[in-house]
């Protein structure tokens, strides 16, 4: 790869690195580290590896780091190379995963989807420790237009480097014709489980996204099918929700975004004003046999209000909620927990079904009421949730 111009990427914020590159005859690396001589050699090594992987033979690289992790420095260097050399295939190569990762089931627990700004090195450095059900690395609203390219590389490195355990990994891309396609080509190299499509308004976009995913999965050798979570955040989207939910097998969850919806409709951001949209969204999702996730609760300090909104959303049929800070995860998970009565009921249903099967009985009843497939499935869901929350669950589960 040949550098055409001088370029820089990153910042001098805490946990970040500022990387400047310029064309040069050979490779020259200059490191200024917050830790003094402790990590200079290591940082040179990281720079050398990245330059080698892009086949850069002539570059002067200057790294000023403020306690940035290796993968942050690598991503900032990639961003600088991208700006210095211009876009190209070289930036669409997959990264090897540092830790093995499994695909996620269609019905993965999705009580929380935590938004993390895709260009915030400090938060991304340890976003593996927050423990939401779904981590959503955001390339859209949280990233200013001039940093979208840099954020892609950071998100890809974070995905490939950290060990996220059971957390399902999502990237919110930009709308497909506003950078979203390039977002996909880069970040899929970090092997996320799913892609969030913002401002979804028509099934056509979903079909287009699904097609791109199909093509890229093959090219990148992704070992699983990448899920889609459309975010419905406009009246038009709500009107189309049912079609959006069922247009592709990849769509596993509809998410509601109240902020834009409220603005477009010109309504208040109150429970009553949004009730129709929420109900519509839940019905569309459930008709397609997928999950529904409610909008975020913006008042970070107001845990009581958050819990109240989660209780209402759960009562409407939502399976999860967007969260904007790790502090909100605990309360939301607690509120989505089944009550002890629900758990006892679910255990009874599952046990009754198992007994009926062992005696080859066709019709299953529990407490005098018929247990058909949806009831059994609901009971199993309750038990799965209870187990995820380490509630006391009997043998039935």
């Amino acid at each position: 790869m040949e550098l055409l111009r001088e370029a820089r990427c990153g910042s001098e914020d805490r946990s970040d690195a500022l990387v400047c590159v310029r064309p040069g005859p050979g490779v020259r690396v200059e490191v200024t580290s917050k830790t003094g001589p402790m990590y200079e050699a290591r940082i040179r090594e990281v720079v050398g590896e990245v330059l080698g992987s892009y086949g850069v033979a002539g570059a002067e690289v200057r790294v000023t780091e403020q306690g940035a992790y290796d993968h942050v420095i690598a991503a900032r260097l990639e961003g600088a190379l991208y700006r210095a050399a211009g876009a190209g295939e070289a930036f669409h190569q997959p990264l090897p995963l540092a830790r093995p990762r499994q695909g996620s089931p269609r019905d993965h627990l999705r009580r929380t989807r935590l938004y993390i700004p895709g260009n915030n090195a400090r938060l991304l450095a340890f976003c593996d420790t927050f423990g939401p059900d779904c981590l959503l690395l955001d390339l859209e609203d949280a990233v200013p237009p001039e940093e979208k390219d840099a954020a892609r590389f950071l998100v890809r490195r974070v995905l490939a480097t950290l060990d996220f355990g059971d957390t399902e990994l999502w990237v919110r891309i930009n709308p497909l014709d506003r950078g979203g396609e390039e977002d996909l080509r880069v970040v899929l190299g970090g092997k996320p489980h799913g892609i969030c499509l913002p401002k979804a308004e028509s099934p056509v976009e979903i079909t287009r996204l699904a097609g791109l995913l199909y093509e890229l999965e093959g090219r990148l050798g992704l070992p699983w099918r990448v899920w889609i979570m459309p975010i419905i955040e406009s009246p038009k989207g709500v009107a189309q929700a049912a079609d959006i939910a069922r247009v592709s097998e990849r769509v596993v969850c509809l998410a509601f975004g109240a902020e834009d919806y409220t603005r477009e409709v010109g309504c208040a951001r109150s429970w009553e004003a949004l009730l129709w949209a929420r109900s519509q969204l839940v019905a569309a999702a459930k008709a397609a046999g997928i999950q529904a996730s409610d909008t975020v609760y913006g008042e970070l300090e107001d845990e009581v209000g958050l819990r109240e909104e989660v209780r209402r959303a759960k009562a409407l049929g939502f399976d999860g909620k967007g969260v904007i800070h790790p502090l909100q995860i605990g309360p939301v998970h607690e509120e989505f927990a089944p009550t002890p009565e629900e758990v006892r009921w679910a255990e009874g249903v599952v046990r009754a079904a198992a007994e009926a099967q062992s005696r080859s009985k066709g019709v299953v009843t529990y407490q005098g009421r018929m247990v058909d497939r949806p009831v059994l499935e609901r009971a199993r869901r309750v038990l799965a949730l209870a187990q995820a929350l380490r509630m006391e669950v009997g043998d039935a589960a």
Binding site: D70, F126, P326
Partner: protein, 515 residues
């Protein structure tokens, strides 16, 4: 060079004096009798007030080579240490040994006095620039000596450090020498660190900017021990007592660590009626206190007592009835000082009551659990609070050793990576607190349980908490940021780290280069 009980090489003598190496947390059997100041008397209706500090110093007989002591409860707002040293230079007094409880960044101005030989030795904690300066080596006539709060009390009480003149910054004092930190126009909270100084020093000067009619109450410092009361314009700046950021952190990592720490003590069954706990003032400690308060409320549990570093978060718990008694050795904000004035169940305690090894009772020995921090921990559960991984001496011991030794369960809260430096090392740069008194290490990536506390590991596992070995945590951090180079240490000892019993648990050596 012989190794002590935590495997550190300790010289046999330091500055010409034999060294007792650390043998174990409770191995030392004290010998001898307590040390005291000279017997003195006075006549009725005396007046001890002198109009200036300079005159008081002249009257005290302070001369070359002597030891002067200070408390640190104005923390970063202290004005007295520099003022005394400056006057000493003006009076031609040199070669002083400083015996403060601690120095802060505000004492950076000491450095020129050290370079000019006015101050040649320091026995006390050094937070920040003075520590960094001493770390360079060759600056002091003898290595600095660092002690815990309890350790300093012990050293004064047994005569290990003789005090010639004690200077006691007193926000409020009467002409007879009774003094406290609660009254006056610049209150700093308890000044009880200086009580032992007043008992053992040859000469005691109370320094105040708020003289009140006799008697000043409470008399933290008592009239019977005070030679002079010197007046100054301003004794200290109370704005400096506020410790770090006195707000519950919003940092997700710190919050997660705090949450896990509280979940751990809950799982261990330590949050129970009548408990006693220690709350600190760091970001994680404050968040943990906050989580703890919520859990106590939810469960209807009330604590019998809490020990501070007292902050308004603890005061809130006290006012809500969640904590019955506060034992307060140090105030970290104005709310704590108001509370001390208002309610006798918020009690001032001395470091002797708190933590003296050579005593028949320590408040820290009654703790059910405590949350403490550190700069590094190692695979043996040893904790460093004094130096950074680059070998710089930047922090004091505070009550770390005393609390860890005393609490039934000692919880160290620490992120696995700080800046980009891993905190879990194969060996800590400096051992401050030995692994034998450390039970849990709580990080954002999980909790390590000292293998000596198998029953704790079982309780935590049962509660579903993420247990990890220190080796796993160390390896995970190293994967993200690499190993990094270590500093190479020379032979010169720049500071001695005492265990609270007076033995040497480690020494800090001069950094000569990098591997």
């Amino acid at each position: 060079m012989p190794l002590n009980a935590v495997g550190r090489e300790i010289p046999e003598t330091i500055a010409g004096r034999p060294v007792k190496p650390f043998q174990g947390a409770f191995a030392t059997v004290p010998q001898g009798r307590k040390h005291g100041g000279p017997l003195k008397t006075c006549r009725p209706r005396g007046n001890k007030v002198v109009p200036s500090l300079e005159e008081a110093i002249r009257n005290s007989g302070l001369s070359d080579g002597m030891t002067i002591s200070f408390h640190h409860t104005y923390r970063n707002g202290d004005l007295l240490v520099l003022k005394v040293v400056e006057l000493c230079e003006r009076l031609g007094i040199r070669d002083l040994r400083l015996f403060p409880t601690a120095l802060f960044p505000c004492h950076q101005g000491l450095i020129p006095y050290i370079e000019r030989g006015v101050v040649t030795r320091i026995e006390g904690s050094m937070n920040g620039p003075v520590g960094a300066f001493v770390s360079q080596g060759g600056k002091l006539a003898a290595p600095a000596v660092l002690r815990s709060h309890g350790g300093r009390w012990r050293a004064a009480e047994c005569g290990e450090v003789g005090i010639d003149v004690a200077f006691i910054a007193a926000p409020c004092a009467d002409p007879y020498g009774n003094a406290n930190g609660l009254g006056g126009s610049n209150p700093c909270g308890p000044i009880s660190f200086s009580v032992i100084d007043s008992w053992v020093a040859d000469h005691v000067i109370v320094v105040t900017d708020s003289l009140v009619p006799y008697p000043a109450i409470p008399p933290e410092i008592e009239q019977g021990y005070v030679d002079q009361v010197a007046l100054v314009d301003r004794v200290g700046d109370p704005a400096g007592i506020v410790s770090g950021t006195l707000r519950v952190t919003r940092s997700p990592t710190q919050l997660r660590i705090a949450r896990l720490a509280v979940d751990a003590v809950l799982a261990a069954g330590l949050v129970r009626a009548g408990m006693g706990f220690q709350a600190g003032a760091g970001g994680i400690s404050l968040a943990a206190t906050d989580f703890l308060a919520k859990e106590m409320k939810k469960r209807g549990i009330k604590a019998k007592f809490a020990i501070g570093g007292v902050t308004r978060y603890l005061v809130d718990m006290f006012r809500e009835g969640l904590v019955e008694v506060i034992l307060d050795g140090q105030a970290f904000d104005p709310e704590s000082i108001s509370s001390l004035r208002e309610d006798v169940r918020h009690q001032i305690i001395t470091p002797g009551f708190y933590a003296d090894y050579n005593s028949l009772g320590c408040a820290t020995y009654m703790l059910d659990f405590a949350f403490l921090g550190g700069t590094e921990v190692d695979l043996e559960f040893n904790v460093n609070v004094n130096t950074h991984s680059d070998g710089q001496l930047l922090h004091g011991i505070g009550g770390h050793q005393d609390v860890a030794a005393g609490a039934e369960v000692t919880v160290i809260t620490i992120p696995t990576i700080r800046g980009r430096i891993p905190t879990i090392r194969e060996r800590v740069t400096t051992v401050t607190t030995p692994g034998e008194v450390v039970d849990l290490i709580v990080t954002e990536r999980g909790i390590a349980v000292n293998p000596r506390r198998q029953e704790l590991a079982e309780d935590l596992k049962k509660a579903g908490l993420p247990l990890r070995s220190l080796e796993e945590l160390r390896a995970e951090a190293e994967r993200l940021v690499g190993k990094g180079k270590s500093p190479l240490f020379g032979d010169e000892v720049v500071a001695v780290i005492q265990w609270r019993d007076g033995t040497v648990i480690d020494v800090v050596r001069k950094v000569e280069g990098w591997e």
